[in-house]
Amino acid sequence: MSARIELENLSKRYPGSQSPAVDDVSMEIRPGETVVLVGPSGCGKSTTLRMINRLIEPSSGRIRIDGEDVTRIDPVRLRREVGYAIQSSGLFPHMTVAENIALVPRMLGWSRARVRERVEEMLVLVGLDPGEFHGRYPRRLSGGQQQRVGVARALAADPPVLLMDEPFGAVDPITRDHLQDELVRLQRELRKTIVFVTHDLDEAIRLGDRIAVLRERSRIAQFDTPEAILTGPADDFVSGFVGAGAALKRLNLTRLRDVRIGAFPTVSVDDPRRTVLGRPADGPHGELLVLDRHRRPRTWLRRGDLARAEGFPARAGRAVRGTVTRDATLRDALEAVLLDPAGRVAVTGRRGEYAGIVDMGTLMAAVHGMLEADRAAAAGRPREGRPHRAERERGA
């Protein structure tokens, strides 16, 4: 369930100020796509977002959701049909987690039983155990958990459109990364039309199917895919905003599951010594990767280690420290590779099982391939008809 949003010549002029805060914005957001509005602070991106659910009344212009002109309907009704999540979660501290999530469905007149069921469902959806969190008050949640509940509340009545105003702006960087990944996962399941405001380009790149880079008065400097904005900024403003390191930022756009990763000779921890010795080793140090009974990477094993451990593979070698999952971005993978003393990192699947390895060579090949494809696309690309990120990822 998702909807098309059309903004037509939307402007906001505050009485007593010379220039409008938002000047003549037109934009079409396709059903099920995530569009990120990004720009320097004070550029009017938040004002633009807040006009969509009419927390700010537009001075002129029109907003259509699924063809319906919502500039004329009752704003209270409109807001119940549009999910809204804000910075620092906006949870009501005097209500429990469940009561917060239940607010919109209750206002819409759902039955008690249906509301209760929906609350549990939403908690599970955002990765919180209903038994544990149902009756908690917001102050007893961490910042990340509060934000999850905030998203659950915004989605509780299953609105076709979700507006998010810097929702992850107030959480620490690690939690923010988690929440961003969660949102990508959620969106893959739900396919809402999401409009997301941030001043953080990296966040925009991670989340957006398309990014609108806004300059002052919310004028659109460029509205395109993250790849196109990184590789072909429309003007100096955009390239200034993208800043140095576009190639590095590009690494955030692709996940390991989308690229070809390397293979490595493996043995099982239960394999007899003979089998282990018979397996050709690989890498600059002549190693084997030992997997445990659940096929999870366990140790890096060299011939010499085996001799020293008197023939028991289980005891020999050095423990596998960092692994990355197939869902990790290339940037995360690069980080892990740079930190690894031997420059190779094991890649794991959903349950931690071995899936391959990644090293500098893998990453270089992937990046070159990506940049070439971007350039080719920028040269002769049809502007429409690009599949959503979710589809791309599912297809991969």
Partner: protein, 218 residues
């Protein structure tokens, strides 16, 4: 006659006075709370209106209570009317000021969130703003009540009800056998009632302030 003998001998009268005292303070507090919160609701959104409301109610408080009651007698007569008017006027200030401060202190992000998820203005007020402003409002009510307990004694001057009658009777007959006992009984009675009221407010706070915003005990 010793103090306790006096109390034992006159307990009927004292009890009646105490009940009337409580009744007067309680009823005036209900009116003051309703009026005070209403004034706060009408004015807290606007900077100058809210400030004006606080200024007016604090001006009322600067008028000496005896003078105010004295001024009211020629206008509304003796007995209950001047008592109620004076008590309500004095009770207003803490309620109005705390309600305005409390309502203005509600995190604007929460009000924004309430609007954003589609709460009507009335629902926003009842479900979000008032519950969050309730702890300071309750504190205001508590302070008002303590104050009215003492001021209500003055009402006896206008032939109003309450323990003030004991005190005034005692003062009027200073030097006579029971004068000191009367003043003492009236005063102690008021102190005890004030303590009892305060305990009731602590209980009320426990019952009505949602757990999520109650201050931690430790």
């Amino acid at each position: 006659m010793g103090f306790w003998e006096y109390v034992a001998a006159r307990h009927q009268q004292l009890l009646t006075d105490a009940l009337q005292h409580v009744g007067a303070v309680f009823q005036c507090m209900v009116i003051a709370t309703a009026l005070g919160v209403a004034i706060a609701l009408a004015t807290y959104r606007s900077g100058w209106a809210g400030d004006l409301a606080v200024a007016c109610t604090s001006t009322a408080l600067t008028v000496p209570s005896l003078a105010l009651i004295g001024l009211l007698i020629p206008v509304v007569g003796l007995g209950v009317p001047p008592t109620v008017i004076a008590l309500v006027l004095y009770g207003l200030l803490p309620v109005v000021r705390n309600a305005i401060v409390g309502l203005r202190g509600v995190d604007p992000a929460l009000v924004d969130a309430a609007r954003g998820i589609g709460m009507s203005p009335a629902a926003r007020l009842v479900r979000v703003e008032l519950p969050l402003a309730w702890p300071p409002i309750l504190t205001g009510i508590r302070v008002s009540t303590q104050m009215l307990m003492g001021i209500a004694a003055i009402a006896a001057y206008a032939s109003g009800p309450g323990l003030g009658n004991e005190i005034f009777r005692g003062i009027a007959s200073l030097g006579s056998a029971n004068a000191l006992n009367q003043v003492l009984a009236g005063t102690l009675g008021i102190v005890l009632l004030a303590l009892a009221f305060d305990a009731a407010y602590v209980l009320l706070g426990r019952l009505t302030i949602p757990r999520g915003i109650r201050e931690r005990a430790h």
